[in-house]
Symmetry: C2
Subunit: 680 residues, 2 copies
């Protein structure tokens, strides 16, 4: 029978008996307890901080005496003097077991710590980065046993860290000899732990103990903007975030115009590739500056993007994506080197690009799937990422379906007479009194309604310049609720609606939200063509979702998640009045923010998530809306506001939609028009 | 019981029963018979040619009827019309089994064919190149089952060729879509089959069936010359060979002076790296031109070189190799990309560099070990690669030892008063009449002895310009045999030797081989300092070999193999009279030519040989001569000609060495001098 002391770790609950004098770190390692260490127990890195607990633990059947651990030692004292050790903490490599003991491993001492996400409903990110730091003691060279310095370094990684078959990049070979000698054969190395394609590889080497960190980038490469999060690969913290406009915009606002540019201009695809890569380098320099780190410490980067951006970024002509059957060059995830893409970060930094789901459903949609995880949801979840193209996912633990739908740029304020990007001065919220038909609104940059005191002052610098995507949604929905607009999308005349804000505008009518003439600004109106543009966009979105519901065999969904910047600002009620999204309890419609960017961050921080999303994507059932006849049918029905056939019972229990009809027999009806040519 | 016809393949002897109508290629594949095919049985590539045999085969118990195979078909006829099919041959994919049949697979139809080496005593090279060609039929894209073009290509390689988990280089992604469409979804791809580090990877893609080949380079990167063999990776043929001077010569003739250059000049190592890489590209362009192929078809390259060249080529400062403990950056084999080394061949061509044995025994010595295979020899084999540094291997199937010894450049004609490189006009053979003490000789470029008619005409254009390495060996050995030179290395005076060709030269004597004054050319003499230089060089060589024999516990070896250009021209008898190599039957002393280059070619053509030599090198026991006191002792003894202590019984049974002594008590004795400072 053993009389060795019991060591019990929380929160894991792992326990075992160890001889008196065993360092806590050693006990943790032997039990497989997740306790961090970079220096391997040499009292240098202080990553293995633990909190011993004393007293009675009836639950565990343990009593911990005051002397259960060795006394505070010189190494700990030195560390405390210089850096300060949180009260109650010990260094796991210095504290030796003397008696039965309960040890708590605080989150920040765990290798696979959880990075907490802001939204309560989603899972935290488990730290499992591609690259980690290891401090090693390398054998000196010996003429009698000749072996290369690299071979002895690799041996040290194997014996001291149990890393098998490690390789080294050429630049390490070129630089390691002086570093080993400068560090007196003690060095810290950054090891990329390998993936399906690459073996574990030494990427960086520092003499002695390196006290800094290494970094990775999560990049959401959009058609309009490129956003990057710079993350600390040890802690998972976002240390800087920045965004730039996609420099390809000068070749075409939307994706199809960029595809056309490359078709019309020889070498046009290469110009665009170069532009986006240069933009990327500007952005990377920007985030590195912001975080005050050397760009060469960025060793990993994860990209998500739509298929056209995917091809243009990789240097592939997107020609085939512009025509049926929309064949991707490669749909799989890609592991590359940053330098293959001309990215100026660490010389052998790795790049991971998430898989594409289909020719119109890109790696950005895969990233949304990773972030929102419909495949792990018991509830049937509809995830909509709204951009100039909407990617739609519908699924639960049984299966996940995906499609894309060509919404066009109307939701981003384009093709709208008073439309503009979401920027200060843009109307983003609007209410119309159903009785007076008078509007009130808020603009970006101010929290005061237009009919409240102080509004004039609040907008003094910005003015009221236009209406952004979420503003136009609310405006049209409010018009419908106020009886200014009928189900077919026609605005009534002043006569029909009883308000002088409805003005004749050619053969149709417009509704004046803001008369800017007095302030010298523009008039902000909603015109019938604006309504049409939004009708087209929302019909495309809804009919994509509805098609997936058909394929799934359901008429309702349990949850709707709106992803993307647009989704973050949209009002669920107004979206439903418009018939953008299926009928659903309002509290079940939530916004996920930049879910694609979050997906990129998850894949950056947790390499297991990469294999996971690759598997998920392989299992996702792809639906091509272009060849589904029911899509056309749904589109026609969804052109009405909210819908000409769907009942929307939950919506109707909340609001009542006036039964108006402003069709005077003339003019074409939006619902009857042919579906527009497919856009990206 | 089966009544299906028997199909028997020679030379493998593999046999099996197959239904009537089975193509011979299919039968071969199912039996695992090594029968080549690039097109996969589509009657395009004609690689699967076989020779059916008819009649009685009592040994196999088979009778083959005339109608045992289907009749000559249209595909075969077309091929015969265009290209001509050797009489008696059929295409294995077209000829269908009709009855019992014996099929011979000719060598050129085998994938793993043997590349015959010229020397009878060594093994042929088994073809097993890194990269092979595959013709595939790729599924068309389908909107309903969206997958990338690459994924369908990879699937075709898996289903049609059983290649698993194939990846593609980025440049393939960038170029494949138009190629697939141009070939109407039929393409030929070159697939690198992967290695320890890399997965199988598509390197090149051609529309339709590609009728050409792909190539590899075997490069012996020497301090003085760089030699390249361009090989066809399908047949193993050397299609072009070329060599250039190492452009680093301008930084220093020998390796140590290059190491010094890099120590004395900041960035000097980088200059030398750039120089050798540029030279490499010149050389590659040269061989590609000679073979009339596109450089981009060179997909693989194998390099062998000494440790200093290894480091300089890789871009590693060779500083540490210039001082004890002579630590290599990496001793292991390296798999890299050609572009990492600025080599302008295929954009993702691979590079393999053989492992180094020790700080002074490089990848060139490993290549010699691969070519000569002492580890596979039952006889105890001494392999000596003579250059400015001699690499020495001693071993048999039990074990192999290795060392290097600093012979210096004397064997290459440097430091010899009349010395020159082996070039037309240089004396390469010499005989001295023991009675008359008169010499006769041959110069490079002529086969007439200097005392024969027509010699004057033969040398009219070249003259007699000097004496090359093998010439000086013979001259000194012949002088010793003729009694003109004593065992200590002193040349006798005219008086002591009785010939006026021995002339006073300062405090010592010289022997005049050729009086060039009449022809206006130089006098060719052997001086006492020449003797000293050769004594030093041969003593270094011998004592290295002798040290290995000590370590092995033997006093004799069974075989001596002289590798390198110098070894190819050396006379075994004269080398032994000089005491360069251990006593051994003369017929057991053979030349291996450029064994390092051959080793590179083996590793290029047979990737299994790479793993093999890596294992062998790991098992080779390295001896560092610099720290072995017995090396000094052997060196002192070996300074005598042939040796002051070793008996050389076999040599003495063939020749008799005059017992002369020209020591007059003055002057220093070569045997008594301190060993020279170690050189590379």
């Amino acid at each position: 029978m053993t009389t060795d002391p019991l060591v019990l770790f929380t929160p894991s609950g792992k326990r075992g008996h160890f001889p008196v004098g065993t360092p806590v770190l050693t006990a943790a390692r032997q039990l497989g307890v997740d306790l961090d260490s970079v220096c391997g127990g040499r009292g240098i890195c202080s990553k293995c901080q633990i909190t011993p607990s004393y007293g009675e633990f009836p639950k565990h059947g343990v009593t911990v005496a005051e002397a259960a651990l060795s006394e505070w030692n010189k190494v700990e004292q030195r560390y405390d003097d210089i850096r300060g050790l949180t009260k109650g903490r010990r260094l796991g490599c210095q504290a030796l077991v003397q008696g039965d003991i309960v040890i708590d491993v605080p989150p920040e001492s765990q290798v696979h710590r959880q990075v907490v996400r802001k939204r309560a409903e989603v899972r935290d990110i488990t730290m499992n980065p591609s690259t980690r730091l290891y401090y090693v003691d390398v054998e000196h060279p010996d003429m009698h046993k000749p072996s290369g310095d690299l071979e002895r370094l690799i041996e040290a990684l194997e014996t001291q860290w149990d890393l098998q078959d490690v390789k080294a990049d050429l630049h390490i070979l070129q630089s390691m000899q002086p570093v080993l000698r400068k560090g007196d054969w003690k060095v810290t190395v950054a090891v990329h732990l390998g993936d399906e394609i690459h073996p574990p590889t030494i990427m960086h080497i520092w003499p002695g103990f390196y006290d800094g960190s290494i970094y990775g980038l999560a990049i959401d490469l959009g058609s309009t903007t490129i956003a990057a999060h710079l993350c600390d690969l040890q802690t998972g913290d976002v240390v800087a975030s920045s965004g730039i406009m996609n420099p390809q915009i000068r070749f075409g606002e939307d994706l199809m115009s960029r595809v056309s540019y490359s078709m019309m201009n020889k070498g046009g695809d290469q110009e665009m590739t170069q532009a986006v890569r240069e933009g990327m380098n500007t952005l990377f320099a920007q985030v590195a500056d912001e975080a005050e780190i050397d760009k060469a410490l960025i060793v990993d980067a994860v990209f998500v993007c739509n298929p056209v951006m995917h091809h243009l970024f990789l240097g592939i002509d997107p020609f085939e994506l512009g025509q049926a059957p929309f064949a991707l060059t490669s749909s799989g995830a890609l592991s590359l080197y940053a330098k293959e893409l001309d990215l100026e970060i660490h010389p052998t930094a790795r790049v991971y690009i998430l898989p594409c789901i289909a020719g119109h459903v890109g790696a950005d949609a895969a990233a949304v799937a990773l972030s929102e995880a419909p495949d792990k949801s018991k509830d049937l979840m509809l995830v909509v990422d709204v951009g100039t193209n909407a990617e739609i996912l519908l699924g639960n633990t049984n299966k996940v379906l995906a499609c894309s739908s060509p919404t066009g740029p109307a939701f981003e304020g384009a093709q709208i007479s008073s439309g503009q990007r979401a920027a200060p001065g843009a109307i983003e919220r609007i209410e119309i009194d159903p009785q007076t038909k008078e509007p009130r609104f808020k603009v970006i940059g101010s929290d005061i309604w237009s009919n409240e005191d102080g509004f004039a002052d609040a907008i003094a610098t910005t003015g009221v310049t236009g209406i952004c995507g979420s503003g136009i949604i609310e405006a049209i929905a409010e018009m419908r609720l106020a009886g200014l607009l009928d189900a077919s999308g026609l605005i009534g005349s002043a006569e029909q609606t009883g308000t002088s804000r409805c003005i004749a505008d050619g053969r149709t009518n417009s509704y004046v939200i803001w008369d800017g003439s007095e302030e010298g600004g523009p008039n902000i109106t909603v015109t019938n063509p604006d309504i049409r543009a939004i009708q087209m966009a929302k019909a495309a979105l809804y009919s994509g979702a509805r098609l997936l519901m058909d394929k799934f065999g359901v008429d309702t969904v349990d949850k709707v998640i709106l992803a993307g910047a647009f989704g973050a600002h949209i009002s669920a009620k107004h979206a439903m009045v418009l018939g953008m999204i299926p009928d659903c309890p309002l509290e079940k419609v939530t916004s996920a923010g930049n879910a694609a960017g979050t997906g990129a961050r998850i894949a950056l921080l947790n390499t297991k998530a990469r294999t996971e999303i690759e598997d998920t994507v392989r299992r996702i059932e792809k639906i091509e809306t272009a060849v589904e006849s029911r899509f056309q049918e749904h589109f026609v029905n969804a052109s009405a506001i909210p819908n000409s056939t769907e009942p929307f019972p939950i919506l109707n229990s909340i609001v009542s939609l006036p039964d108006v009809n402003f069709n005077t027999g003339g003019g074409d009806q939006p619902g009857g028009r042919k579906r527009r040519r497919r856009r990206e």
